[in-house]
Amino acid sequence: MLGTLLRILALTRKELLAVLKDPRSRMSLLIPPVVQALIFGYAATYDLNHVTYAALDRDHTAASRQLLAGLDGSGVFERVADLQRASDVESLIDSRGALLIVQIDEQFERRLLSGRGADVQLIADGRNSNTAGTAASYVSSIVQQFNAAWGRDHGYAPPPVQVVARAWYNPNLETRWFMIPGMIGTLTLIQTMMLTAMSVAREREQGTFDQLLVTPFRPFEIMAGKALPSLVVGTIQAGGVLLVAQLWFRIPFAGSYLTLYAGLLLFLLAAVGIGLLLSAVAATMQQAMLYSMLLIMPFSLLSGLTTPISSMPRAVQFLTSINPLRYAIDITRRVYLEGAGLDLLVSDLWPLALIAALTLAAASWMFSHRMQ
């Protein structure tokens, strides 16, 4: 028992030395997660702070100008053009000159004054429908402010129902608050999985794997020796991203570090298991790379990091249930923002445990099978 442990530790040490001794390799594992968290933390936001729009004001009255002034004064909208003809709309949108066109028809003020209500046409560039939808909702809320002010001054009855919305756990619904905790899993998954998959493939490619086999190590010990270093690297990387989230972006941490790390460790175990399984299948590093990237793409796209899983087609939702990143992102967000404890995370923890157990068992079976 002790002998096994010592042998595993010796292998781990050798593996860590192999990875960390080369300064370039060391840098490529430790610096990027932090730098990426910093850059993507700023970039990855659905909140818009600069929307270009053009006005097609056919009314030219005080009311229409008041409405447009509401947009201009919001600090978000920048009026790039005042269009005169409807035919200009198409070319401006096509060339990405403006994201939105606000069109106010003639008789806008007259209809308002007569109490009939008026329409405002909004045309949005739907090439990125996400951005367009957000921008359109910003316009709607500014129009609501205009309505409230206009209604008060001109004797309109207030709207029959008002919705007062409050968001728990993230009161201002800042994208960054849920994006950066989600990145803890995403950024570590990629490198941990690749590192594991490639470290075995490298030994195989260089022929040192056969040398390892003639040593008194048992297949299980070799596997554990390959898994541990990746776990260590992954844990350190996760810690780096966590530090960026707390110290740089100052996102309040509501949960316990112990819970978070327990969840992350299980996740890393699953990632390492997948990496080992890939390396058992791959004969060369290039193959290992190819397989891991075939997985990384669906894993990162279908994780719920950027698009909610509940809005994916049903078949795809089903597919995401084998994606370890999906559970890791849920765990980090819930522990980080809501302060959830382990008891609330059971539905995320057992799939991770299952993925880890299955992949590690399959990998160890393939290792011992191939070796004999």
Binding site: S25, Y46, L122, W168, M285, P308
Partner: protein
């Protein structure tokens, strides 16, 4: 649970009086989803209020009504914006990562030196090493376009030839980046990690495929100008969804062409220097 709608006890009396309030509590853990939920609830309440007004049960509708239209994607189908992004990711992976690996392997094993002593010229080595991946990437491109059309039903409103031309340029760039990285680090593990960082992650997060470039802080926006994926995404989105808009196609293709030329020149120079 995504949200709680709280309707107070005297709701219908207050609707008649015109000051009813519905409270909505959304789960903010996923802010994006929370905002969508909030928007849906607002929309449904608005429709309901309008119907009340039409039936004369409550005061008149709002003074100003916004009628919005989403051009190029009237039905607001999310695969319309996901598919062009997917094409970028696939092309980036095939072009960048595989080439980075293949050259790094030769360096790692020292077989590039043995290639050198054969009468093959360095340009020919470069061409022979990259051509298979270029072809592979184009194969991937064909697969992407076919699945966009028949699997996701995303329209291709522009010319397929424009799309092909832009994609060839982009693959050339990705190949060049892969080659440069591999000849710089000469180690497969580091080369793959670096290529992932320099090509895939930026193409995912900083290309404008998911997040609006104009809303990023200035420093991050400057970084995006150096990324080929940014120009390729703009091209893909326009050619797929808007058609042949030359005011978008021309400048973006020009930048891609310039980058491809610079990288071809660069990897040629690096190979010459490293081999001689």
């Amino acid at each position: 649970m995504d949200g709680i709608v709280r309707i107070p006890a005297d709701f219908s009396r207050r609707v008649a009086a015109g000051d009813a309030v519905v409270q909505l509590i959304v789960h903010g853990g996923d802010a994006n989803r929370a905002r969508i939920t909030e928007g849906y609830v607002q929309g449904i309440v608005g429709v309901w209020a309008a119907r009340l007004a039409a039936e004369g049960l409550a005061g008149p509708a709002q003074p100003v009504n916004v009628q919005s239209r989403l051009w190029f994607n009237e039905a607001n189908d999310s695969s319309y914006f996901l598919v062009p992004g997917l094409v970028v990711l696939v092309m980036t992976l095939i072009g960048g990562l595989l080439t980075a690996m293949v050259m790094a392997r030769e360096w790692e094993r020292g077989t590039l030196e043995s290639l050198m002593v054969t009468p093959v010229r360095s340009d020919e080595i470069l061409l022979g090493k990259t051509l298979p991946y270029f072809v592979l990437a184009l194969f991937g491109f064909a697969l992407c376009v076919l699945s966009a059309k028949f699997l996701f039903h995303v329209p291709l409103r522009g010319s397929i030839w424009v799309l092909l031309g832009a994609s060839m340029l982009y693959v050339l760039i990705a190949l060049g980046i892969g080659l440069l990285i591999s000849s710089w680090v000469k180690n497969q593990l580091v080369a793959s990690q670096l290529t992932m960082l320099v090509t895939f992650m930026p193409a995912f997060m900083l290309s404008g495929f998911l997040f609006d470039l104009r809303s990023m802080p200035a420093v991050v926006r400057w970084i995006t100008y150096a990324l080929p994926a940014r120009y390729y995404v703009a091209l893909l989105q326009s050619v797929f969804l808007a058609g042949n808009v030359w005011s978008v196609i021309a400048p973006n293709t020009l930048v891609l062409a310039a980058m491809a030329a610079a990288l071809a020149f660069g990897s040629h120079a690096v190979m010459r220097k490293r081999l001689d």
